[in-house]
Amino acid sequence: MSDIIKARGLRKRYKNTVALDDVDFDVHPGRIVGLIGPNGAGKTTALKAILGLTSFGGELEVIGLDPMKERSRLMNDVCFIADVAVLPRWLRVHQAVNFVEGVHPRFSREKAQRFLDRTKIKPNSRVKELSKGMIAQLHLALVMAIDAKLLVLDEPTLGLDILFRKEFYNSLLNDYFDEERTIIITTHQVEEIEHILTDLLFIKDGKIILDTTMEDVSERFTEVMVAPDLADEARQMKPLHEREIFGKFVFLFDGADQMELAELGELHNPSVADLFVATMKENGA
């Protein structure tokens, strides 16, 4: 199957800032992509362009459609959760289920009911009576009951406690995701999603600074814990980044020879969070 998303020379400029600066990227089917960047890097703008919520320059195809021209058709195959606060407060749970069933051709009431049965949400409650965590559960139940090709999550767990966050990603992975579906996630809590991601897109100042798969990350990037007396030697090998922990130095290398590095100290796979900090610094943060 062809690409789920294909972006070429994607541009977006607001009054004083460039939100997206000539960005190219592809998203393939069956992947879970983490779109990661600091605040104001252009993440949300990129997602809005994908969802047809903002105009843009350059070329962008989502499931073969132009999101600006064919938005309502696109929404048959694309779902999104912007953040937990967006369900209308007056809506009752059973009304939400009825409504989505009424307007969405790919919604399964049985599935939604199954997800809701696992929660404490009562069908007659209004959204405003639910806790933040329950609203997120309701929204997720609605979205997971839709047989969509692409799911876009923009900070879906913001403001939720750790139990709900864990459960959110668990259900996403176990009950929803399969090789036919694609998910794009942005979040600040990178540590919590790195085990479910298959691809990384790092974005900074409107540019993609890293576009890679998780398999490549472990091949390309290596962390070495080096004793102070070998630190200078390690620095000469041009590490991406260094930090100090308990009197030892941790160097992050991109594409260095693992055999050589092993002589300097203990090797690790870097976490996405460390990789993020390193690449952000390298690009002049």
């Binding site: 809005k48 919520l53 309502s72 999104f80 209308p88 009304q95 307007v103 969405h104 929204h139 979205v143």
Partner: protein
């Protein structure tokens, strides 16, 4: 089609109070007043004359009237007692439309609605249809419930007064036709009010804050500007924006005004005196006649433009 019906249901769920509970409340108030007035009158008359059930004798005076002339009286009454509903509904629809494309942007639930496969045109049109047809239909239902109750109370009073109920009430009065006529009036009214409703939708879609101000200030400023230009005496325009706006809002086909000044009764934009009351101010014929007015078509034209702009803004504006 199916998803449009769900869009309308959505509007009903959100606005159940304004669309249905409110008119029922107004009706309940009417019934309460009627019962209270009857009780008070009965007690008062009884105290004066010292005789029980004197009210029934007062009511029986109606027997002096020729029942054949009662049809216009009753049906005019049915239309007249509905006028307060139409007046309130005018405000209800205006404020409903004003919030319809604004509230969900303010609480950000627009992002949820926009995550569903619904075109923005359908969203905006569903608000228009909910405000100009669904709400009136529900209000007419509430009017029907109220008037049925009032007619039943009248029936009981007539019974107690030995007045032949069929000859004097149910024969001449035709509530069913009145309600159907009101429904049809609202269908015509929807076209007549299209520029006003379209303008409210546009303000609702456009305003980043204070949609009420955006809806009200421009026409008022325009009207003031006209007044001012006319006052300079350099330029006399034989046209008043005030009158235009007033006629549009109050000159619909549903009986909004029911002023009785002396013998004159004014219903909507139609004016007639007591002597002329031989037929009702709204008939199927007068409803259709509306479509021969150039004003009607100008209004529709402006309404369509406003609505198209509202849809365009709803679709393309970046809400960040």
């Amino acid at each position: 089609m199916k998803s449009f019906s769900f869009l309308l249901r959505r509007e009903f769920w959100e606005n159940r109070g304004a669309f249905f509970t409110l008119p029922l409340g107004i009706g309940g108030f009417f019934v309460f007043i009627a019962v209270a007035a009857l009780t008070a009158a009965a007690t008062f008359i009884e105290e004066i004359d010292g005789e029980r059930f004197m009210l029934t004798k007062a009511v029986a005076e109606i027997k002096k009237v020729d029942p054949a002339t009662l049809d216009v009286v009753w049906n005019l009454n049915l239309l007249g007692t509905s006028a307060i509903f139409h007046m309130v509904l005018l405000f209800v629809v205006f404020f409903y439309l004003l919030g319809s494309l604004y509230d969900d942007r303010r609480d950000r639930s627009i992002l949820f609605w926009k995550s569903l496969p619904i075109s923005d045109a359908n969203t905006v049109l569903s608000k228009l249809v909910a405000g100009s047809l669904l709400a009136p239909a529900l209000w007419v239902a509430a009017i029907a419930i109220t008037q049925t109750t009032l007619l039943l109370i009248t029936t009981i009073v007539f019974w107690l007064s030995d007045i032949p109920v069929y000859d004097y009430l149910w024969g001449p009065a035709d509530p069913l036709e009145t309600w159907l006529l009101l429904l049809a009036s609202y269908a015509v009214q929807a076209f007549w009010m299209l520029p006003v409703w379209g303008w409210a939708l546009l303000a609702s879609s456009f305003a980043r804050s204070k949609p009420f101000l955006w809806a009200v200030a421009p026409p008022v400023l325009l009207a003031v500007a006209y007044t001012w230009i006319n006052a300079t005496q350099y330029l006399r325009i034989d046209f008043s924006v005030w009158t235009m706006i007033g006629n549009r809002i109050l000159g619909g086909v549903v009986p909004i005004q029911f002023n009785i000044e002396g013998d004159n009764v004014q219903i909507g934009s139609m004016r007639f005196t007591d002597d002329d009351v031989t037929e009702l101010p709204i008939t199927w014929g007068t409803l259709l006649e509306r479509f021969t007015w150039p004003d009607m078509w100008w209004g529709i034209l402006f309404g369509v433009v406003f609505i198209a702009l509202a849809i365009y803004i709803r679709r393309y504006r970046d809400e960040s």
